[in-house]
């Protein structure tokens, strides 16, 4: 356990040194975007990976966060930090409103309703010109400021994103390893048994959905204040699919998997550049292959490889009856 903590600290320090070592703006942009996506994907992980509920609206909540933050800072002149908190709250609130009617029903309905919601949300972003400025996009979004420092450039914004990723990962980890996370996983594994065990499945599913929305909202706000320009095409159904693929490739019920998937797939298009915009095709194929052959993602693959290295002797099977007979 201590070795794992140590390894984690080393990893975080190494990541924190990236802006000092890497001077390519382009690579730093990719790092910042990967971190922001990792937050969205972790949120999806709480919903899909932990709780087993399907959502294809992560991009919509991402967009709601981005536009809320953008509107509050440009139209109302709010400072960035309260706008960011509001963006997160707004996405969470919308998630509550969408999740409430849909999560009372079984899984397919949620998957569909979230696709429908995503389409509605994007139509609103395009058509509600007074607020969003439509397809022309929203411009002039300010960078965050702390005291004398303005986080204008990618090499400083990197740290804001890093802190946010770590905070989100911490929250997800705490949820996963306590009573609430076990309840979520129980719902994923067998909803009827979970309910008969006293878990209010509907309530927990709604809360998981709200968490996914809040994560996406925070990430959207982080994106708004770094790109400083928002346009509705970044929040399409395809983007939701990309988030889903990131999670499936990394490993859906693992926090590290969510981050790994986001980082990997953010850098992967560089490798797939010859395919131009059809690199998404490779994502589609990757999802099918992963779900058939590696259902627990890359993280699951690493774990089973490691387990193979150090497997102890499992306890004899069917021992309980023998023990009972002996005791009686």
């Amino acid at each position: 356990m201590n070795r794992r903590v140590l390894a984690l600290i080393v990893l975080i320090v190494a990541v924190a040194l990236i802006p000092a070592v890497v001077h390519s703006d382009y690579i730093l942009t990719l790092c910042v975007t990967a971190g922001i996506y990792a937050i969205v994907v972790m949120g999806l992980g709480i919903l899909l990976g932990f709780t087993g509920q399907m959502s294809l609206a992560q991009a919509a909540f991402f967009g709601i966060g981005a536009y809320t933050s953008g509107w509050l800072t440009t139209h109302l002149g709010w400072p960035v930090w309260p706008a960011m908190a509001c963006a997160m709250a707004m996405s969470a609130l919308v998630a509550l409103a969408v999740g409430y009617p849909c999560l009372r029903l079984s899984g397919h309905y949620l998957a569909l309703a979230t696709i429908g919601f995503g389409i509605i949300a994007q139509l609103v972003l395009i058509n509600w010109k007074d607020v969003t400025n439509g397809s022309d996009g929203m411009t002039g979004i300010p960078a965050p400021v702390i005291g004398p420092w303005t986080f204008e450039h990618y090499n400083s914004y990197f740290y804001i994103v890093l802190v946010a990723v770590l905070a989100c990962a911490y929250v997800a980890w705490r949820i996963k390893t306590t009573r609430v996370g076990r309840a979520l996983e129980a719902i994923r594994e067998n909803e009827i048994a979970a309910r008969a065990t006293g878990i209010d499945a509907t309530r927990y599913k709604i809360i998981a959905f709200v968490f996914a929305g809040a994560y996406a909202g925070l990430a959207g706000s982080l994106l708004a204040h770094t790109t400083k320009f928002l346009s509705p095409d970044s929040y399409s159904f395809d983007q939701s699919v990309v988030f889903l693929v990131m999670l499936i490739v990394g490993g859906s019920s693992s926090i590290g998997g969510a981050i790994l998937g986001a980082v990997l797939l953010e850098f992967l298009p560089e490798v797939l550049r010859p395919l131009k915009s059809s690199y998404i095709m490779v994502y589609g194929a990757a999802v099918v292959v992963m779900i058939i052959f590696m259902p627990r993602g890359l993280v699951g693959l690493f774990e089973s490889l490691r387990a193979r290295w150090r497997r102890g002797a499992p306890p004899p099977l069917g021992a309980a009856a023998a023990a009972e007979a002996e005791a009686a």
Partner: protein
């Protein structure tokens, strides 16, 4: 209940089913069922396939909504309450087709069983230490005790799915016991068990009874039923056709007819 008669109150069952009706489309699965389960008893619910036993259990535990009649548990009407609320009142259950949290470890399965007896919420989860850590430790300890109780402590870190069938049934029982139910519903606990496992199950059921837990059990293995039950209710076509002690029920001509003569001879 306002009856002044203390004796009558003692007679009142822990679970009182009155005129229960459950229909599926045009089929009446449970038809005006009356049944009383007394506190402390091992009560068996038997009957031919399709006689409405599992449906009755599903209505009691809130997975199905009754179409009529009442189910009262310790004076609380259960109709209209969701399954999780019924579990919180103190009714635990196992399933005929085992429903474990397959990918989770055996220990986690039982820890989840503690859900209604623990409190940590989303906010509590965010702050380590203090009450959260204490509760987490207590949950783990209690789950280990229960696994020892069902003789499965050695298997605690395996995934539930990987256990043999008989052991999976014992994990389900431990998970249900973790909620400290006053009434435990067991749906065919011996199904798919070999004779040695069934014998061990009889011992386990007796030990559960000694804890003071009331048991309502559905079972096809008549040997087991006759050995462990204090009372038996016999259903046929969703209706109550006989009730009484094992010997009494075995002699009942209606019961013998319902089973076409044969099966009860085994007792």
């Amino acid at each position: 209940m306002t009856t002044p008669d203390a004796a009558a109150a003692a007679e009142r069952g822990l679970l009182e089913i009155r005129g229960l009706v459950k229909r599926f489309g045009g089929v009446t699965a449970v038809n005006a069922l009356d049944m009383t389960v007394r506190a402390g008893d091992v009560h068996a619910l038997i009957g031919p396939n399709g006689s409405g036993k599992t449906t009755t259990l599903n209505v009691i535990s809130g997975l199905y909504r009754a179409d009529g009649g009442s189910v009262a548990f310790d004076g609380h009407e259960l109709a209209g309450r969701p399954a999780h609320a019924i579990a919180a009142l103190g009714i635990g259950r196992t399933f005929q087709n085992i429903r474990l949290f397959g990918e989770l470890s055996v220990l986690e399965n039982v820890m989840i069983g503690r859900h209604v007896r623990t409190k940590t919420g989303f906010l509590g989860a965010l702050f380590p230490g203090g009450a959260t850590a204490r509760e987490e430790r207590a949950t783990r300890d209690r789950a280990r005790e229960l696994l020892a109780f069902v003789r499965l402590d050695a298997a605690r870190s395996q995934t539930a799915r990987s256990l043999p069938y008989g052991d999976q049934r014992r994990v389900e029982i431990a998970r249900a016991l973790a909620a400290e139910p006053r009434l435990l519903l067991l749906d065919e606990p011996a199904a798919g068990m070999n004779p040695a496992e069934t014998d061990a199950l009889v011992v386990l059921l007796r030990r559960i009874r000694e804890l003071g837990t009331t048991l309502l059990l559905i079972e096809h293995d008549m040997n087991l039923v006759m050995t462990v039950s204090d009372r038996i209710t016999v259903l046929n076509f969703g209706q109550h056709i006989a009730e009484g002690g094992p010997a009494e029920v075995a002699r009942n001509p209606d019961v013998i007819t319902a089973y076409l003569g044969g099966t009860l001879d085994a007792a």
